[in-house]
Assembly symmetry: C2
Homo-oligomer: 209 residues x 2
């Protein structure tokens, strides 16, 4: 299909929200959906939904709405969800363990192929079906068995150093759970999930009202 360039991140995020909603509808056996229903789910307007989807060449029929099945396939294709991505996880701790067990990873083709840690008590041991490798071996291992995505689940003070190493190895996508803001070259994408930060913006809002 036609690949559009330079789509705003905010649009991509809405497409992802629409997809979640459509997948639930599909499970419930619904065949069509209106732009109004999608708008409610994406926290936006029906005009915005129509704009977002027409951009990708998808048009609803007046009075009938969009075909749920067709739109699911199209959105999965746009979001790159038909592919498999090789993933290395750095940090064999509790969060890493929860992530490895998270179905959403595998459902989206995120295949965790290696796990690294510095803790010698963990290195060489089994861990969720993988064997923990020594972080010292990162370069050797990722050259032998390259990955497209690195998941950083290290303490904050180790995260930038590990990031620099995976970027030097050619990794272009990073999912960061360490509580810092990573610095990367322009051609590398970083998504940060920082629960501590979300909790603190909530407590700030509750305190300063």
């Amino acid at each position: 299909m036609l690949r559009m360039r330079k789509i705003a991140e905010s649009t991509v995020r809405r497409l992802s929200l629409y997809l979640r909603f459509l997948e639930e509808f599909e499970e419930q056996g619904m065949e069509t959906v209106s732009s109004e229903a999608l708008a409610a789910r994406g926290g936006t307007t029906s005009a915005q939904v129509r704009k977002d989807l027409s951009f990708f060449g998808s048009f609803g029929k007046r009075g009938l709405g969009y075909s749920v099945g067709e739109l699911v396939l199209k959105l999965r294709d746009i979001l790159g969800l038909g592919r498999t991505y090789r993933v290395a996880m750095i940090g064999a701790g509790k969060i890493g363990s929860a992530l490895v067990q998270y179905r959403g990873f595998r459902n989206r083709g995120f295949d965790i192929v290696s796990i690294f840690d510095t803790d010698q008590a963990k290195v060489g041991k089994g861990w969720n079906g993988l064997v923990v490798k020594d972080l010292k071996e990162l370069e050797t291992e990722l050259r032998r068995s390259p990955v497209e995505i690195a998941v950083i689940v290290t303490p904050g003070e180790a995260a930038q150093g590990v990031t620099d190493r995976v970027v030097a190895l050619g990794v272009k996508a990073i999912l960061n759970f360490a509580p810092i803001q990573l610095t990367v070259p322009d051609d590398v994408v970083v998504k940060t999930v920082n629960l501590a930060l979300e909790l603190e913006t909530l407590s700030y809002a509750l305190t300063n009202r």
Copy 2:
């Protein structure tokens, strides 16, 4: 202390990042820190750091930098981290369970006092030191034992309905893990953590490069 109004969310997020960094420095026994070091951690410039902190009446000494201990106390105060917040969790599933065990909750005074689910196999059973209550009893329970924060860990299709109910009960802060965009009145703060969405923006970026 003086409470400043209308601080931009982006500033609050940087203060939270600085705090993480300062806490690590404090653990390592460091006494002072430069605005440059804080800037590197917050993904910003030293001029921005000085601006952020002077706004709260905190000034480093030229050549000496900021006192780590003093700044930690001040930032914790600004972010409302000296208080205890009563939290209700809606949804007794895997994510909820991981959250209840997350030290960061208790460290920040987030005290989970009740847990609700619709699954009759779970209702009345022990769960991480609490007893799961029937979601039907939400109004009765939260009137008897009010909370300040609701954590929504329900499936997407249930999240807005539950949100409307806690908002009607006077809850002003919501942490949302359901994969939808919640609609709330202006005086309610919502923070959404949506891992599926982060994964999909990553796969989009990898596919469309």
